[in-house]
Symmetry: C2
Subunit: 458 residues, 2 copies
């Protein structure tokens, strides 16, 4: 009996060592393929330069859908299809302009851009006194008397001593999203919001905003101002609290239009009804090229399937790449994908999103049971040679988050976050801000993770 | 007795918890100071933009010395001084030019730059056939017959599937450093070396080279060619192995000149004879602004002492910032500093260098006994909130490496390495390639490490 036990233990140990070796070899092969023969970088060049910014409902978004489908068709997947979804269509219009009137007749221009979803100003613009607040909570403490007839200037900066810049973003994004709604309730005529950027520069950063339940006639224009512009305005207000600010923009909300999620899949060889998703969002804001947000996530997700094809890895489960439409201003693509997969009773055991930029990957944020997280953390040694060290409990991604069940695992790629908000939603989110190797390492890290999830059927 | 043991254990546990809390608070304070009120970024702007490239022996190097001393003087250290050292003076001259003659009369210009230390070509330039080799080893297998009268083109690329780009650099830097010496021995008339860059672009990357023991009349000109230029030349050679290459440069070696290491120190309160060094090198190559190499290391090292002053931390040991002169082409500053400290019988218990760029810090490479490395690795939890995870056995830095003893600890900051060689020794190593937060996180991480070394008197 003792001998048998010993033999079994040996056998088990041997099998484990074999597994480890197989996994290490496969990971090496994944990373080498991404770095030596990757497609993500040239794909991203096309998506963010040849096509460019691609806001939902725009011609460029249509082009991106066509391009995504064409490229996936070339990969020899088992199935590629478009999933129709109606999306909002907001257009920036032909002008956005603002200045500070430092004294009657003296003005200084400041860089602004309309927030996504904002209404226009009257054609003649809005000229009014300014009240500066350091966020939504401060505004809520004010009375109509303080605010009515004025432009509310939200000037809460991102907190620079938080190491993870996404935390700093969370700490002040409410002023962008709900600032106009709250200010309008107190009778403000417009809102100006400090750009969500840790750097002092001249790029205004757009982003989604909502009027909540406000009726159309109560909605007021909302614009972002660059961080340098915000600093200037704040200094000027300290000198003269009665100065006037002038804002003019002619953005517009149009009726919904048809668009698509782009989907491709490799059928699983053993458990084809267990679906693993990798994805990013195909739409982007209109100001830049949507290179980091989220062109990077799109091409990395496509690259995961391409790498598996290239190294000849046949997943046991079905793996699906989903390029979600309309993450930025409506989330309609994710909602549609989820509702259809529910109607079809599809079993999504795993979903991974890349939507935090194409920077050096550091690990994953994981939304799962503590038991499954523990198993994932036990894989850390496999990732050590690739300097991947973060496997933490946390949110996954805005799109795949909709797929959450009690049983499944969701995850988000966690790249280095220091530079992300320098470019986020701004005109400088362009291809030249992408480092090829960093992008490729992200794709490889996603592929390695999906491979392990599949290998262990977790 | 049992009760006493229990009591002592409790007391010990309590003291440990108190220590941990003190350390955590101090680290938080260090990081917050660097991120909210850091000086490294504006220092680096001055050093890399207002002064700019500062090759040893140049006027800019003198300016950098003056600036370094002035800034250290302002910090209220216990002592600031200049340490004289004679340094080589090599100047690039007024032209460097190259073209490929694809057929008689047809030429394509390619970007080249002289390697540091190279001799000039004759004024009329050198025009010769080209022999392409993939590194020093391949060249050594050749005979004089193959090489004599030709230009040797070293075209070994950096290996892209190595995760740490410094490893890829090590794998081919010999062709730059010794290529001319070896080629000259076989009768070559010049060497052209592929730039040490993983990216395909148009920047030639300079760097040091040596003729070894070759007599002056046997020395041949050496130049770097951009990676795109190298790819082009290689393609053209595949079509026509008899094509000619033309190179012209008028760089020059001049007599040594006097320069300085810049040094400042805070005297230790308890063990002032135990010296901890933080440093980087003040000189840089001449083509760019020396922003990442090694302006970043210089300002981060200065920032360590400034942070201690600002948070009111009085180290038990003496901490010294050393801005080494002439790391790039002679190492004279480090050699001088070491020989003087030996003569004075100074006890350098610890030395840390930052010379791998101002990118997001990942950890440290540590040159110490395995026992001390283990203790350092036990501090990892303190660094976890700052995403610092690498504490590995390895080399420290080219300058502080000279201070090695059996007993002491040397270390090198290990920032993310993916982008480093995009800029290394090239005209694009400029201030705009620096991210303020990444630079500041590096400085804070160094300060935190020095603090712990001091706290535990390791």
């Amino acid at each position: 009996m003792k001998k048998l036990c010993y033999f079994l233990l040996l056998l088990f140990g041997f099998a484990q060592a074999q597994n480890s070796e197989e996994i290490e070899t496969q990971l090496k092969s994944i990373y080498s393929t991404a770095l030596l023969n990757g497609h993500s970088y040239s794909w991203l060049e096309h998506l963010s330069v040849q096509i460019g910014g691609r806001l939902s409902g725009s011609l460029n978004a249509e082009r991106a859908v066509d391009w995504g489908k064409e490229e996936l068709d070339l990969l020899g997947l088992d199935r590629v299809w478009l999933q129709p979804v109606m999306v909002p269509k907001w257009i920036r219009g032909t002008f956005e302009y603002a200045h500070i009137e430092t004294s009657p007749g003296n003005t200084i221009n400041v860089p602004v851009c309309a927030l996504g979803g904002s209404v226009a100003t009257p054609i003649a613009g809005i000229r009014a006194e300014v009240i500066e607040v350091d966020g939504i909570d401060s505004l809520k403490k004010m009375s109509k008397k303080d605010v009515a007839g004025k432009i509310v200037f939200f000037n809460r900066p991102m907190q620079a001593d938080l190491i993870n810049t996404f935390e700093a973003y969370s700490g002040c994004v409410a002023q962008r999203y709900s600032g106009a709604e709250e200010a309008a309730k107190l009778g403000a005529v417009a809102v100006i919001v400090r750009s969500m950027n840790l750097r002092l520069d001249d790029f205004p950063h757009t982003g989604s905003m909502s009027y909540g339940g406000l009726s159309i006639r109560k909605r007021i224009p909302a614009a972002a101002i660059s961080t340098n512009g915000a600093e200037l305005l704040s200094s000027m207000l300290a000198l003269n609290s009665k100065l006037r600010f002038y804002l003019k923009q002619n953005c517009k909300n149009l009726p919904d239009v048809q668009s698509y999620n782009v989907i491709g899949e490799i059928k699983g060889s053993e458990k084809s009804d267990e679906i693993m998703v990798v994805g990013g969002h195909l739409d982007s804001w209109d100001l830049g090229g949507g290179a980091h947000d989220d062109g990077a996530g799109v091409v990395q997700s496509m690259e995961v399937l391409r790498i598996f094809k290239e190294i000849g890895y046949q997943p046991k489960r079905t793996i699906r790449v989903v390029l979600f439409m309309n993450e930025e201003n409506g989330m309609r693509g994710a909602i549609k994908y989820t509702s259809i997969s529910k109607a079809k009773n599809e079993n999504h055991v795993f979903a991974l999103e890349s939507d935090a930029g194409g920077f050096t990957p550091r690990g994953f944020s994981i939304d799962s049971s503590p038991e499954k997280l523990k198993i994932i953390q036990s894989w850390e040694p496999y990732f050590e040679p690739y300097l991947i060290h973060l496997f933490v409990q946390g949110g996954s991604g805005a799109d795949v988050g909709h797929l959450k069940t009690d049983a499944n695992i969701l995850a988000g790629l966690r790249p280095d976050s220091q530079r992300y908000f320098d470019y986020h939603h701004a005109a400088n989110d362009t291809f030249d801000k992408i480092n090829k190797r960093e992008l490729e390492l992200g794709a490889a890290t996603m592929a390695a993770f999906v491979y392990l999830i599949d290998y262990f059927s977790l």
